[in-house]
Amino acid sequence: MTGAEDFSAAGELVCPAGTPAALRTAVEAGADTVYCGLRNATNARNFPGLNFTPEELQASVAFAHARGAKVLLAVNTYPPAGQLALWHEAAAIGMRAGVDAFIVADMGVARHIAETWPRARLHLSVQAAASSPEAIRYYCTHFGVRRVVLPRILTIPEIRAIRREIPCEIETFVFGNHGLMVEGRCSLTNWLTGQSTNLDGVCSPAAEVTFERADDGTMRSCLSGFTIDRFAAGETAGYPTICKGRYAAPHRPEGYYAFEEPVSLNLGRLLPELMAAGVHAFKIEGRQRSKSYVRQVVGAFRRAVDSIRSGHDPDLADLVALTEGQKETQGAFQTKKWR
């Protein structure tokens, strides 16, 4: 990795891979870039049975590079104080594998990579929650960050304004899970399970999740024994995360989504505006999803971006069947009034 390579032109598709097979699927479906993580707490999808061994990463990078695609390694969790070895090792594994960039959130991890491998390319993870020009410039100045993944709390005019004030590329999510909360600062799951996305790479660890189905078809989803939602027979469901839970409160005794709703982001119709606003790369969420999801979503966005580049309207297939709760939103990108 030299860090000096040109990434593709505006509209670069950054696609998820939870397994080597998913990475190959993403590349074959048209991904410009694929992001992935190792099988440990150094990345924010530390799920059972998911992710890459060092050997799998090396082979996958070779596969992607042979087909003109790039690979990003997510090292985007926060090491507990004094326990940096695992994160340093992850960076070394990534360097040996020849990844094209690291996605980082923690300043200590960013500094370690920047000082150890000055030519390594750094992308600032959404987990860093850098949403102002001042914050983003800080990471660019002190750690040489070349791209920021923006939190999903900004409108397109706000993104356009930020673009004018920062010296790095912008990447935005365009599809997938919309569990934004205050990205990188959410501790809800930690509160119940003792583990968190930020420190352990796992929100609602599967070992703590249970689903209980009653004879009348209702389903209760629980985290660490606490009920976080109850779905009527046939009602669409969401991920068993606290932020997507439905709770009764004195003013809403019938229960309501107090934080977020089970809904997925889909910015397919906003792609031209995002490109015009200076967004360099489009990120598809879903390293925890299947090859089938990767094939369908990456393929649809590949065709859409290519249509825009050739001066045509994007032709996005209906992806709602793949969305959480089978509902989609444009979130804050369209309006701050989405909630």
Binding site: A22, L50, V209, F211, E235, T236, A237, S292, Y293, A321
Partner: protein, 167 residues
Amino acid sequence: MTATKTLAPIPFPPLLPVGLVCTVLRPVLDRIVRRIAARHPEIFARVAPYERSDFVIVPQELPFALHLRPDPEAPLLRAVPRNRLPPHEARIEGRFLLLLSLVDGESDGDAAFFSRDLTISGNTEAVVSLRNALDDMDGSVAQEAADLFGPPGRAILAALRRRSGRQ
């Protein structure tokens, strides 16, 4: 293809004793699981913490379920009557064609869960591990199983795919 509630049902001869069906399927399923284990040893690493665990996979419209133990040394896949399920770590339930579509790499498990077409119970971590293990192979478990039985196997798979609207 995505998860859908419109999959056509699988006809099953109601008078065929389910115990007999399970017995007839035993060598077939045993051959399938041993072939997959031999050709894809890497998938067992992803489900290693649960290699001695028992999973039951329940096609809703069939009178039998599948009992899976992903032990790389002694992989087990057998049919068992629905009313005599063995003790199990986790249970996965859905329509047969959806389950086939999932192992065929054509449907997304999360989407099927969101739509409530797929139900899981028991140890969620075991199910997630198994799902990720099966998803990390190029091609399809279903196709490899069909190929094992030559043209008749491929014809049956093609017919099932047609029934689910995928061919």
